[in-house]
């Protein structure tokens, strides 16, 4: 199983999306990269699109039958409740109680923040629990969807482009006669 996971991870790390992420991270100061990689930033900011693409690619791999067993080893969700000694993570119809100190160690202990918990069973009586900071991908801040209707009722373009668009549009290139049934 470990070898299969490593192979799948290596394949993802060779993907164009991952290489793109590395290229963009390389443009930042090391301290900022360390903060992002360590989870100090709760949202992906300008990286939200590339990280979302990477997450989608990872999800496809994770859902493969050969990795089905992994599903019981991790839980990803949002913090729904905070107590003195623990936080409750809700996600995918499941709840996890996570020691507050673990959540604190990865900068996630406020309601609504994303947190992942990985359970590594040692034997029937022992388990290693590891917390990992989740990154917010559903925020509108910094995110972009080519399918969203633009705010303000117009797609923003530069002044130079608008000047170009004030010209005469070339006739549409219709090459096959089409009848559309309504």
């Amino acid at each position: 199983m470990a070898a299969e996971i490593a192979t799948a991870a290596a394949r993802l790390e060779k993907s164009r999306t991952f290489v793109h992420l590395l290229t963009r991270l390389a443009e930042l100061p090391p301290a900022v990269v360390t903060a992002i990689a360590g989870g100090e930033l709760a949202a992906a900011g300008p990286f939200v699109d590339v990280i979302r693409q990477l997450a989608m690619g990872t999800a496809v791999v994770r859902q493969q039958r050969r990795f089905a067993k992994l599903a019981s080893w991790y839980h990803v969700g949002r913090i729904s409740s905070v107590a003195e000694a623990y936080v409750i993570v809700d996600g995918g119809g499941k709840q996890s109680f996570v020691p507050r100190s673990l959540a604190h160690s990865v900068w996630r202990e406020r309601i609504g923040e994303c947190l992942a918990v990985m359970n590594g069973p040692v034997d029937e009586r022992e388990m290693i629990v590891r917390a990992a900071p989740g990154i917010e991908l559903e925020t509108e801040t910094g995110s972009y969807s080519p399918f969203a209707r633009p705010e303000g009722g117009f797609q923003s373009v530069s002044a130079a482009d608008l000047a170009y668009l004030r010209g005469i549009p070339r006739q549409l290139q219709i090459t096959i006669p089409i009848t559309i049934e309504r």
Binding site: V60, P146, D161, Y164, L165, G167, R170, L172
Partner: protein, 178 residues
């Protein structure tokens, strides 16, 4: 000229289940984005209250012999501008997708599937009542080479300044006013 072996019609609420089953994505993230939109969002996008002002339309292309849903495309009225007052009317091709089984294929009468789909969109825009501006644009992922080639073939050749680093805005060619 052989008679068409395809059919194009406007989607309605009754097509929701059909669209849910539509598969067009392989491994690329931008393909999955489009598939997700078609399966989960497209009819709500077109039929939502308040959307009518943008005149959104979803077109479905079928193979007549097999009755298979081959392609899906959508478009709507939008504006391009620098602000709400300084803008020009346009039509956005919201999406265009061909089912996995039909990608790169021809209908039995020889028509290329992608060409029928694009012609359907452009015909619908051109014959719209009230008329739509022939200024047509699409937003395409920069690595989506097939869609970029298809846009170019159908006249969306001018690239505008990007609003997102990963996506191109491609628009029909314009000639300066003399």
């Amino acid at each position: 000229m052989t008679s068409p072996t395809w059919q194009v019609r406007v989607a309605t609420e009754k097509d929701r289940a059909l669209l849910t089953r539509f598969r067009c994505a392989n491994k690329e993230p931008w393909e999955r984005e489009v598939e997700f939109q078609i399966q989960k969002r497209l009819l709500d996008w077109a039929l939502a209250e308040g959307a009518a002002a943008d005149d959104p339309t979803v077109l479905l292309v079928f193979d007549v012999p097999s009755r298979a849903l081959v392609g899906v495309a959508a478009h709507e009225r939008q504006f391009l501008g620098t602000n709400a007052l300084d803008r020009v009317p346009a039509t956005k091709i919201h999406l265009a997708a061909i089912s996995n089984k039909w990608q790169g294929k021809k209908f039995s009468n020889g028509d290329q599937v992608s060409h029928v789909l694009m012609n359907a969109v452009l015909t619908d825009i051109a014959t719209r009542v009230p008329p739509r501006d022939p200024r047509v644009f699409a937003i395409v992922h920069e690595h989506n080479t097939r869609s970029r080639a298809l846009c170019k073939r159908f006249g969306l050749v001018k690239e505008l300044q990007r609003v997102n680093p990963s996506y191109l805005i491609l628009v029909t060619e314009h000639h300066p006013v003399k």
